[in-house]
Symmetry: C2
Subunit: 461 residues, 2 copies
């Protein structure tokens, strides 16, 4: 069964590759009539993958073979960071038509990456209606609900019947980003209700919209952080969420497909920060821009490491007397660093997914303290026994064991405390992942280790 299954997938991939080669062949022939049907038969996502792989010369052919709205479909499926060069190589008039054909929220994301002059020139030559829609969205801050919403929703009236609403929907469907939610507005454009298409389908034809809409509307304010919007959509299982201003005027909607991208982006972001990369590094960045993103943290770490080194330097007299102490430094600092990172990861992830909303933060910190005591004691005993058996030195074993125990307890508490404090001061707790925790833990562990060693020196020499 598994073999047949693999075979099925292989056959599928082979067929796909064949089609791909056909598209490439027609493009190289330069025959527009042969190229168009085979290319457009691909899913837009695959169209985009094909497009990216081409040389500039081939891309210029593709522009001339496709209409602006066909290229717009391709552009929607390209990662935002890679898209700008394509708009620069297009004829400006063609490029502005492409932008005009894209959903307004996607066009805004692209324009936000260009310099102001370019934006103004595109908006000037663009179709007036599209330009207006884009201008409305352009001034929302990045990573807020406003920046990811679209204005292409379907609005209906309370006084319409289901049949009338369905007719209206039929007309609006080709333009709308989603047709699966319909928004009911009052005369002042205030949001008063929501109906799902499912509600309409199930209802009788002459039912009034007012009778089937839900007035328990869950909406987000336009300034809300995109990560919180993602949490709401996930928690409430919505396909779309309305965005309102402070007077409850409907400004736009956020659809679940945009949320998938937000979640991917936020997860990559948190992950990168835990690894000490300030901005998300992308596989097709070149080495210089990758190094530029990693160096800030490495340099900070370098100076913090120098600080730790000078701290150890204070104990040079102790080290001179008992050189063997040095060999356990990386072990103790490493263990503290790692248990701190474990605690931090739990706290940061919990804050990101909103798991703490209904569980107390004090409870978490107490739990982390208890966890630190358990892990610290266990590791401390293990290492003491191992060193005693290995070196035959009971006091050295006790010293290293006690240091590990103390370091782990303090590091675990610090690891959960720091992100929670940062969150309270409205600083992104993921940032704490980096230099802050590592340094605190290095300092703590070195102080505990050499403090104990210096105090009990008599037993060691």
């Amino acid at each position: 069964m598994i073999e047949s299954h693999v075979k099925y997938e292989e056959q599928y991939e082979e067929k796909y590759k064949e089609h791909w080669d056909k598209v490439l062949a027609t493009l190289n022939e330069g025959d527009v009539d042969k190229f168009r049907p085979v290319y457009l038969e691909l899913h837009p996502h695959d169209q985009a993958v094909f497009f990216i792989e081409q040389s500039e010369e081939n891309r210029l052919h593709i522009y001339s073979f496709l209409s602006p709205d066909e290229i717009a479909e391709v552009m929607i499926n390209i990662e935002l960071e890679d898209i700008q060069p394509y708009f620069t190589e297009m004829d400006p008039r063609y490029a502005s038509m492409v932008l005009g054909e894209m959903p307004a929220d996607d066009a805004v994301d692209i324009l936000n990456q260009m310099d102001k002059e370019q934006v103004v020139s595109f908006l000037t030559i663009m179709d007036k209606e599209a330009a207006e829609e884009i201008k409305q969205l352009l001034h929302y801050e990045e990573k807020t609900a406003g920046s990811i919403m679209t204005t292409e929703y379907v609005a209906i009236l309370k006084s319409q019947t289901v049949t009338q609403a369905m007719q209206h929907l039929k007309k609006e469907a080709p333009e709308a980003e989603t047709i699966y939610y319909l928004y009911v507005l009052d005369d002042d454009k205030r949001l008063v209700g929501v109906a799902s298409l499912r509600d309409l389908i199930v209802a009788d034809d002459d039912t009034l919209i007012g009778d089937i809409i839900s007035e328990k509307i869950v909406a987000v304010s336009v300034a809300k952080d995109q990560e919180e919007v993602a949490q709401m959509i996930r928690n409430y299982d919505f396909l779309a969420l309305p965005v309102v201003d402070f007077q409850n005027h409907l400004l736009g909607i956020i659809t679940v497909d945009d949320i998938l991208d937000v979640m991917e982006e936020e997860a990559s972001d948190d992950y990168s920060k835990l690894a000490g990369i300030t901005e998300t590094d992308r596989p097709n960045d070149n080495a210089f821009s990758a190094a530029k993103k990693r160096l800030p943290w490495l340099i900070i770490l370098l100076f913090m490491g120098m600080f730790t080194a000078s701290l150890i330097g204070q104990f040079e007299a102790t080290l001179d007397q008992v050189a063997i102490l040095a060999i356990f430094i990386p072990l103790i600092a490493g263990m503290a660093g790692n248990s701190g990172t474990q605690a931090l990861a739990v706290a940061v992830r919990g804050l990101a997914t909103g798991d703490y909303e209904h569980i107390g933060k004090t409870k978490l910190i107490l739990r982390e303290a208890a966890t630190g005591i358990i892990t610290g004691t266990t590791c401390g005993i293990v290492i003491a026994v191992v060193i005693f058996l290995w070196k035959g030195d009971l006091y050295l074993g006790l010293l290293v064991g006690a240091s590990i125990m103390g370091s782990l307890i303090v590091a675990t508490i610090a690891g959960s405390l720091v992100p929670i404090i940062m969150d309270r001061f409205k600083i992104d707790p993921a940032i704490a992942s980096g230099p802050f925790i590592t340094t605190i833990n290095d300092i703590i562990s070195v102080l505990i280790y050499f403090g104990l060693a210096t105090t009990f020196m008599g037993y060691l020499v």
Copy 2:
């Protein structure tokens, strides 16, 4: 404007809290007729949050106040890890009715957490039809397409008209998990086409389904990894994806709301592994189970740290002569560890999001090597200058600088190479995040540092 906005949110939250208190009051009164309307007015997600906060006594009241299908709605909104105790405290007959009312995929997830005996007893007293559906899903492996799919989809025929299909849809709508895609099957239950509800709405009433369906079906095989399914839904912007066996029989569908949970789960999982936690730690685990999840890595690290310590021990003679060497050990090991983790994070994330599919892996490794040379050289020069200025010792500066440079280059290459190799051998590359990389980098940096120091000893004393 911002102030008014905050005010609006505060008002909203106040209203919400008022309602919450009302629900609590009616529950404490024990008056079913007062409780039901206010409780059911909450969104199911909020019903679940309220439910979780109650004492067992209160929960038993809630069970007696609500019907099985009402409680089923609540259960769907509780995190899977927390749900089992509730089913154990319910009357078994009531519990099996609740399971029967849940979407089959959710019921299966819950049953997968119980022991076999319990599962059999639930399935025996359950409604026969529901039990059959659940049994079909029960044998799929965890984290595959089969384990997250549901069998509640809407199927139509090629020969139906749009009007007939809409009537059929109307009947099926209350039961189906999504009504926004309709699946066209042949007589043998093979999937031959897909139509979106949008297509139906836009089409004329008497159009034949066969004329509007898309035959370019994107389907996944039942054994596909859930992370890959998530990537496909994200790339193709689908609201649902059909799941087929190797003969293209339709087995079920996966909807986007389940994918949101998969993405959250996979992101938390990768994040935890980077921090060295084997299983995702949850905020409401107690200290013992949290410690249990963290200890494996800490203990592994402890022994690997002992190995590094014994490696440094080989250079005790060098250390005895130049004790000051010891103070830079944590700095060098720390820097190597961190640049390795940076490179690893980029590689693991890139593999997880599928960004490498069309970019070569060799290209990535070459880029990482170049990045390592840039960051290593920069950090090496900085540290050499700082140590020279601080200690006035040119040779010590050169030694530490050269060690940092060498360690960073090797660590960066190792950080990208290890996950790519693991991926080739079908091992989850996120696992490499932990002990493997850290130890490799500790060993590399210690060997480079003390190797250089021992060789050039003459310049240091």
